[in-house]
């Protein structure tokens, strides 16, 4: 895959991080602040799977009340859950 499609894919994911619930918006905003301009392909693919979820279900994962059955998505959730202040 050339760089341009991956950049567009990243931009699309950035927009898909706009959510119905503020809690999810904030966690995802924090994630994006730590990422390069273009997401690495494997991470982008996992984020796509995560962002396809409904917002309440997403917050269940991000708040640690539930775990994803998909180990790769759960790994991403752990990364997102790293609190604002260590």
């Amino acid at each position: 895959m050339t760089k341009e499609p991956q950049r567009i894919r990243t931009e699309k994911l950035r927009w898909h991080s706009r959510r119905a619930l503020l809690e999810n918006d904030l966690v995802l905003q924090r994630f994006w602040q730590t990422q390069p301009e273009v997401l690495e392909e494997r991470l982008a693919e996992r984020l796509e799977r995560l962002l396809a979820m409904e917002d309440h279900d997403l917050w269940e994962l991000l708040s640690g009340r539930q775990r994803s059955a998909d180990p790769e998505v759960q790994q991403l959730v752990e990364l997102l859950r790293q609190p604002a202040v260590q």
Binding site: W15, R18, R19, L22, V27, S63, G64, R65, A84
Partner: protein, 597 residues
């Protein structure tokens, strides 16, 4: 250089696919009209999802109830600023709208006898304020979410055409003032389109993101309200915003009142339990407005915490950890995630947080946008409708009751759709020709943004706006701060007019979208500040420290001079007023009295 604009024709275009937009679309599509719905995000990701409490309807499934009692509660809740004809209309239509939703497949909680389960909710009473009544219909704690799903499915069946990830940019009005559609940007390509329509319905939600501390999701940028203001439509009662006392400082995420119920204590920078001074009996469990006012007073008098002394602390460290983890499990996680504190060991920074916009685009109870004209104060703007949080019918007046927001979007979404269908079928006619300057405003905004040099940073400007609003037009208002706030927000407005984006690419350019959203937010912010500065009384959610509580002016409410709706016009940044409709449709006026619970 100007962009090409492709024109698409529909009978109706709806902007926004939250509850109000989806409900309006059902009405239009099921009537066989070609209907487009434009939405920035997928419909079931609209902010309606966040509504948990339920939807009010006097079904009387668990105990006796009546729409007239619901009407009384809503008028009282509005501090008599709500229009009583619209309130009667909404309360009478509630049962029909809820039952329709049930037929669409909404999974309401049920009683053993199969009827919809109803629970009590603040401010909803039986027999004209006598005792609490079970009026709220809910689907567990996902009422808004379930509602959107049921209505989205219904729309799919009715062949509504969804344009997902499209952002409406400006209203198209001709020289006679008739609304002929909107311009919009397809995010995936950055291309500009015009949706030429015989009916245009705004259902774009609120603009809670004008405040630094807001419970609203990032998408709530008041797009419809901003577009209406730019097109010369006045904004009604924008000084009225509902706040919640305890949002996490800097984030806005709500900390439920249950935390104080379990023994949580509010403290200032000296560690003092300051609520003992403001409410010696109820202390930290005083009503929302009393707690919010006390918090703001502490901050304003220099006893706030943190480097900017701009929040207070909610302390639960004295509670046994097992109580916190058992009774308040979500709070521990929220504090860790959004305040970076372990609430078992450290207090949580909190501030009063903006939650809901009572004002908006002025409409009548048919969902038609109305403006003052030569013949009346409520002349219909042909072709233009609005419903939900972006609109002001006005049913919430100066303060909204819980569970009336979902009812508002169902009733007025349906009403706007119904009126549009009626108008289109009554006088079938071809599309009115678009004026030569139909796209000028949009293209000028885009050109300006694409060519701006040495401009203002979008995020910094947005932050300046949000901080100005929080400090100068927050939950508790002061004359000097409001006056200063007007100057400051006008300065921010200057910066908004010269925002610059570095990335000029076309595909999913979030930076461009955010700059365009800021154009909308600033209209709402200026309208709010100017309207709030001018209203020299306290009423509902607009509370000033210089409005004395006297027998003639209960709680500082001045009915002699201020029982009227504010109208703010973008052009000339000027204010006008119109009278409140005190006469309901069929019943007696609910007479003015002190609002006390």
């Amino acid at each position: 250089m100007s962009q090409k604009v492709t024109v698409r024709k529909f009978d109706a275009v709806i902007v926004g696919a939250g509850g109000a937009g989806l409900r309006a679309a059902i009405q239009l599509s099921e009537a066989g009209l070609k209907t487009a719905v434009l939405t920035k995000v997928f419909p079931t990701r609209s902010h309606t999802v966040a509504a948990q409490g339920g939807v009010a309807a006097s079904l009387g499934n668990s105990e006796e109830d009546h729409w007239h009692w619901h009407m009384y509660d809503t008028v009282k809740g509005s501090d008599w600023l709500g229009d009583q004809d619209a309130i009667e209309f909404m309360c009478r239509k509630a049962n029909e709208c809820v039952i329709e939703l049930e037929h669409y497949g909404m999974p309401f909680d049920r009683l053993d006898n199969g009827r919809i389960y109803q629970r009590p909710f603040g401010g909803h009473m039986s027999n004209f304020g006598e005792k609490p009544v079970r009026r709220s219909c809910a689907a567990a704690d996902r009422t808004g979410h379930a509602m959107l799903h049921a209505m989205y499915q219904r729309n799919v069946k009715a062949n509504t055409q969804f344009f997902v990830e499209w952002m409406a940019l400006d209203l198209i009005r001709d020289a006679e003032g008739e609304v002929l559609g909107v311009t919009a940007m397809e995010m995936e390509t950055g291309d500009i389109y015009a949706f030429h329509a015989k009916a245009t319905i705004f259902a774009t939600g609120g603009a809670g993101r004008i405040y630094y501390s807001s419970t609203n999701a990032f998408i709530n940028t008041g797009d419809g309200v901003g577009m209406a203001a730019r097109a010369g439509i006045p904004l009604e009662d924008m000084e009225f915003w509902q706040f919640h006392p305890t949002g996490v400082a800097g984030a806005g995420v709500l900390i439920t009142e249950g935390v104080r119920g379990e023994g949580g204590i509010l403290r200032n920078s000296a560690g003092e339990r300051f609520m003992e001074r403001y409410a010696p009996n109820a202390k930290d469990l005083a009503s929302r407005d009393v707690v919010s006012r006390a918090m703001v007073t502490e901050i304003n008098e220099g006893r706030g915490c943190g480097p900017n002394k701009d929040f207070v602390l909610l302390d639960i460290t004295h509670l046994p950890p097992e109580t916190i983890m058992k009774r308040l499990p979500g709070i521990h996680e929220i504090a860790v995630q959004f305040a970076g504190v372990d609430a078992l060991k450290e207090p949580i920074p909190v501030v009063p947080t903006c939650h809901y916009q009572m004002g908006g685009i002025p409409t009548n109870y048919h969902g038609q946008v109305v403006v003052p004209g030569k013949r009346s104060q409520n002349e219909i703007v042909p072709g233009f409708y609005a419903a939900g949080e972006c609109a002001c019918a006005s049913v919430h007046g100066a303060n909204r009751l819980g569970t009336n927001s979902l009812l508002d979007l169902l009733v007025f979404g349906k009403s706007a759709g119904e009126t549009a269908v009626e108008n289109l079928k009554k006088e079938p006619k071809p599309h009115k020709e678009l004026p030569a300057d139909a796209f000028d405003r949009t293209l000028a905004r885009l050109d300006r943004l694409n060519t701006q040099k040495d401009g203002a940073n979008v995020h910094e400007t947005q932050l300046a706006m949000r901080r100005t609003m929080q400090k100068h037009a927050g939950v508790f208002r002061f004359n000097d701060l409001l006056k200063e706030g007007v100057q400051k927000i006008l300065e921010v407005q200057q910066d908004v007019q010269r925002t610059e984006i570095k990335d000029k690419s076309k595909v999913f350019n979030t930076a461009r979208i955010e700059a365009l959203e800021l154009d909308n937010l600033i209209e709402v912010a200026v309208a709010t500040m100017v309207s709030a500065e001018a209203r020299k009384e306290s009423r509902g959610a607009h509370v000033r420290d210089d409005a004395p509580d006297t027998p003639e002016m209960p709680n500082g409410r001045d009915d002699t001079n201020w029982l009227k709706h504010t109208l703010w016009y973008k052009e000339g940044n000027r204010l006008d007023y119109k009278s409140v409709t005190l006469r309901p449709m069929t019943v007696e006026t609910i007479a003015l009295k002190k609002r006390a619970y």
